[in-house]
């Protein structure tokens, strides 16, 4: 097992090289550069713009720029943001925790709602409750998160029960720690609904379908025939076998713990890395985009690795050695 993990982690190296080379080249080949906005400022002269290009190293050949970036990145120095003139690690770090916080909450809510409901639906297939859940799930799946986000903001505006976006209120820094926790929780309700209800729908369908398939198998019939309690049949035998595809999804979604809810963050004004990365990409703030890509790729690979390990733990038939 250990050997397998090491091998998987070693595979990361060529993959990251490939990802970074391709992204670096594509970003640089697309027209325009970070200084575009400045060039349109009547007060800024050509000399000033040229000087900035030199400062940023944008005047050097592409491969030199890449190799310099790579050498620094290996030493975990991701360079300075063009736009903010601060280290990229600080910039991303200043919002990373917010994103992780939100994503963990969304994740927990979506799974906590989706798995039990999926099991419930499968056990009472085609009952009124199951059909209702299916209907709600279809609405959820077909509602884009930006729409549900905006819709909930509108509700917040009409009722006044929830703050309109953001993560904290203006008095946050003057609150005691309990107040701080409650304040953030209050701000989190709407994003969690937007994602948990709407985003959890797909998971629920997945769980239901997977369990239904297992319930049709002979061993389930056998288990029931020999008189096992239904609770044991479902929880101990059926769900345990049906959960495999969901573990794969779980690992895959771990990769989204950082940037997975970028759209929701942007719509709800959550101070995560979503908006930062969107703006960096639009403005071609090169090193911010590169660092985000590296972080994103690593978390995705690690997430998948975790899923594979979990699979091996939950299903004795799976062996990697």
């Amino acid at each position: 097992m250990l050997q397998y993990i090491v091998r998987r982690l070693l595979q990361l190296i060529p993959m990251l090289l490939g990802i970074t080379v391709i992204s670096f080249v594509i970003i640089q080949l697309s027209p325009g550069d970070f200084l575009a906005e400045m060039r349109l400022n009547p007060i800024v002269s050509q000399q000033t713009v040229d000087q900035m290009r030199r400062n940023f190293g944008l005047d050097q050949p592409l491969y030199v720029q890449y190799l310099k970036w790579l050498w620094n990145a290996v030493r975990l120095e991701f360079g300075y943001s063009f736009a903010f003139q601060v280290p990229v690690t600080w910039l991303i770090g200043s919002r990373l925790l917010n994103s992780v916080l939100l994503n963990v909450a969304l994740f927990a809510a979506a799974w906590a709602v989706a798995i039990p409901l999926g099991i419930f639906g499968a056990r009472r297939q085609y009952s009124l409750a199951d059909n209702t859940l299916s209907f709600v799930a279809y609405v959820g799946i077909s509602t884009p998160v930006f729409f549900s986000g905006l819709f909930l903001l509108y509700i917040a505006f009409r009722t006044g029960w929830f703050p309109i976006g953001g993560m904290t209120s203006i008095d946050y820094e003057f609150l005691p720690w309990t107040g701080k926790v409650l304040d953030v929780a209050h701000h989190m309700v709407l994003p969690v609904i937007a994602y948990g209800v709407f985003g959890g729908a797909g998971l629920m369908r997945q769980m239901r379908a997977s369990l239904l398939e297992v319930l049709r198998q002979d061993y389930v019939r056998t288990a029931r025939a020999k008189g096992l309690a239904e609770r044991v049949v479902i929880n101990k035998h059926a769900v345990r076998n049906a959960i495999n595809p969901l573990i794969t999804i779980f690992g895959y979604s771990l990769g989204g713990l950082l940037g997975g809810s970028a759209i929701l963050e942007i719509v709800m004004g959550w101070p995560g890395i979503g908006k930062l990365l969107l703006e960096a990409t639009v403005q071609k703030d090169l090193y911010v985009v590169m660092a985000a890509l590296v972080i994103g790729s690593v978390t995705l690979v690690v997430g998948n690795l975790i899923a594979d390990i979990l699979l091996a733990l939950s299903d004795p038939r799976i062996r990697y050695d």
Binding site: P31, E37, M38, L40, Q51, N55, I164, G165, G272
Partner: protein, 583 residues
């Protein structure tokens, strides 16, 4: 001096304690603070109450807290609370008035200016603001590699401005030739604290550019303005608290500002900004033109007032590429033809643009200056009312004719077709482009309208020159001199044909002469005449076809006082206050 100052300050305090005392009492004596013998008195309609938190919203995070390298509003606006400039523009009269500098003199030849700094003004850490700070700030700006646009405006005819410290409170500036926009330009300099930033500058330009980045603890940002930055939470908000050492007073001699706190809430977009304002989470909102009517109806319920604000300074325009390096002959000949451009200008239905794009909240525009620029604006330039018959006549004069198929052809029989580009995502420009395309089609032109990414557009504009027609906008400033990069034929933003060796046309040569002459003229009325002529030329030869000047429609919560419509800002941050205790 110190004695007298202390005594007068006591009177100030007494007046503050007895609100019934009329303003006349205060106006008779000279106002002073214990530490500032001659504080600046800020005129406002009311003497305010102290306290309260003013909440505004911004749609982007600041990019730096280093004022010298800050370029965009999201950085300069918050820093504006922390720093004051040598002189400032009065929001009502738009005149330049003393600020950190309490007075200035200019020599008879117009080349030497002496600024006297206000005594007793302190940085947040208690150190005095002196001539050393002013000289340091200019030294930093002129250090090669420092990303400041200050050298661009302080370099006159290729020569940088001269400056030196005379004594602790006196700075002398010298220019080779008299410099027309001197006061507005030099007056706009906000000194940085030498004792805090000198070390960074000594380590070089790159280090200085990074000094006071957004990762700096707010308590290390030492300014001299009305507010001190208390905290910055990226993506969330910036909180400011009152500077208790501030050096401006109201007319009763009370130390300003009135507000206890300012909060800038960072929101994802304009819609969120609007929602927060309507939900009473923020106190001010700059409404878009088409929201004006709707928000008027919501004033009472929302407890706010929306104002019929002044026009904006900038404006959008359509331009044709006249650069031989970018367009090939048949098209180049059309675009360089004045009659062609005039015909297009007559085909722009400005009234419909005003009505449909700006919901009536705009005025048709024909020249490069906005009517907001009261001093320099010339209303009497050639106008191009919507008149397709007139357009056709002009095109006939220029040798164009319509074929049996209805398409317009030039004298050589080439069908007139071209692409208008603009930046995708700007709803106003996209709407305008569609309106124009329809009208040009009526003239028989085959026009494609193609919005594309902003970066791509700028790359074409300043790099490859590979474009035909474009709808764009540029920001404007009070002094037309700041537009020289656009209007002089050698300018890099002379977008229709940048960086010309020598002016391609007589009218461009005349604009060059006007800008050079106005730069070295100190008599502001003479400068106004020169710039009036410039506006006439641009309207006559239409290198840029302007459409409309949108109006502004600022909205403020009614709980706030001391703000009033004005051509500049609607309030001075020092004197704004809450009528009723609030927040």
């Amino acid at each position: 001096m110190g004695q007298a100052g202390a005594r007068l300050a006591v009177i100030g305090v007494l007046i503050a304690a007895v609100p019934a005392a009329g303003p006349a009492v205060a106006q008779t004596g000279r106002l002073a603070l214990p530490d500032v013998p001659n504080p600046k008195v800020v005129e406002a309609s009311d003497v305010g109450r102290f306290g309260g938190t003013f909440v505004v919203s911004s749609i982007s995070d600041p990019r730096t807290f280093n004022l010298l390298v800050a370029q965009e509003t999201s950085s300069t606006a918050p820093l504006g609370y922390l720093f004051d400039s040598l002189a400032e523009t009065n929001r009502v009269t738009l005149d330049v008035e003393p600020n950190l500098a309490e007075s200035w003199t200019v020599s008879r030849d117009g080349r030497t200016w002496v600024f006297r700094l206000r005594r007793g003004v302190q940085w947040f850490d208690g150190r005095p603001v002196t001539a050393d700070d002013v000289v340091f700030t200019l030294d930093a700006a002129f250090t090669p590699g420092v990303q400041s646009s200050l050298p661009d405006v302080l370099t006159i005819a290729g020569k940088k401005i001269g400056y030196r410290k005379v004594d602790d409170y006196t700075v002398e500036f010298r220019t080779d030739q008299p410099f027309g926009p001197f006061l507005r330009t030099v007056g706009g300099i906000a000194p940085l604290p030498r004792h805090r930033l000198e070390a960074a500058l000594r380590q070089g330009a790159t280090e200085f550019n990074r000094a006071w980045g957004i990762n700096t603890p707010p308590r290390d940002l030492i300014g001299n303005g009305p507010f001190v930055m208390h905290s910055y939470a990226p993506g969330q908000r910036i909180t400011f608290v009152r500077n208790a050492r501030y050096w401006k007073v109201d007319r009763q001699g009370q130390r300003l500002p009135y507000l206890a706190r300012i909060v800038i809430e960072i929101v994802p977009n304009v819609d969120a900004s609007r929602l927060k304002f309507l939900a009473k989470e923020t106190d001010s909102y700059s409404a878009r033109p088409r929201e004006y009517a709707e928000l008027r109806g919501m004033q009472q319920a929302g407890n706010f007032t929306i104002f019929d604000g002044p026009p904006t300074f900038g404006g959008d325009f359509l331009m044709f590429n006249q650069n031989p390096a970018g367009v090939r002959p048949p098209k180049l000949a059309w675009f360089q033809n004045v009659r062609f451009r005039q015909a297009v200008s007559h085909a722009v239905d400005r009234d419909t643009i005003v009505r449909q794009v700006y919901a009536g909240r705009a005025t048709p525009r024909y020249g490069p200056e906005s009517p907001a620029n009261k001093f320099f604006y010339n209303p009497n330039v050639r106008q191009y009312p919507y008149d397709l018959a007139r357009s056709e006549a002009l095109l006939r004069e220029a040798g164009f004719a319509r074929g049996a198929d209805g398409l317009l052809r030039d004298a050589q029989g080439n069908v007139v077709e071209f692409t208008i580009a603009t930046n995708a995502g700007n709803a106003d420009r996209e709407a305008i482009g569609n309106l124009i395309r329809q009208d040009l089609a009526r003239l028989g032109m085959r026009v494609t309208f193609a919005p594309e990414a902003f970066n791509t557009l700028v790359g074409k504009l300043v790099g490859t020159f590979n474009w035909e027609a474009m709808i764009l906008g540029l920001t404007g400033t009070i002094d037309p001199h700041n537009g020289q990069n656009v209007w002089k034929s050698s300018g890099s933003l002379h977008a229709w044909w940048p960086k010309q060796e020598r002016p391609a046309t007589d009218w461009e040569a005349e604009i060059d002469r006007i800008f050079d002459q106005a730069a070295t003229t100190v008599d502001q009325n003479k400068r106004r005449q020169l710039y009036h002529r410039f506006q006439e030329i641009v309207a006559e030869y239409v290198p840029l076809i302007y459409f409309a000047t949108p109006l502004t429609q600022p909205a403020f919560r009614n709980t706030l006082a001391n703000f009033s419509p004005a051509p500049g800002a609607f309030y001075d941050i020092e004197t704004i206050y809450y009528r009723t205790p609030y927040r």
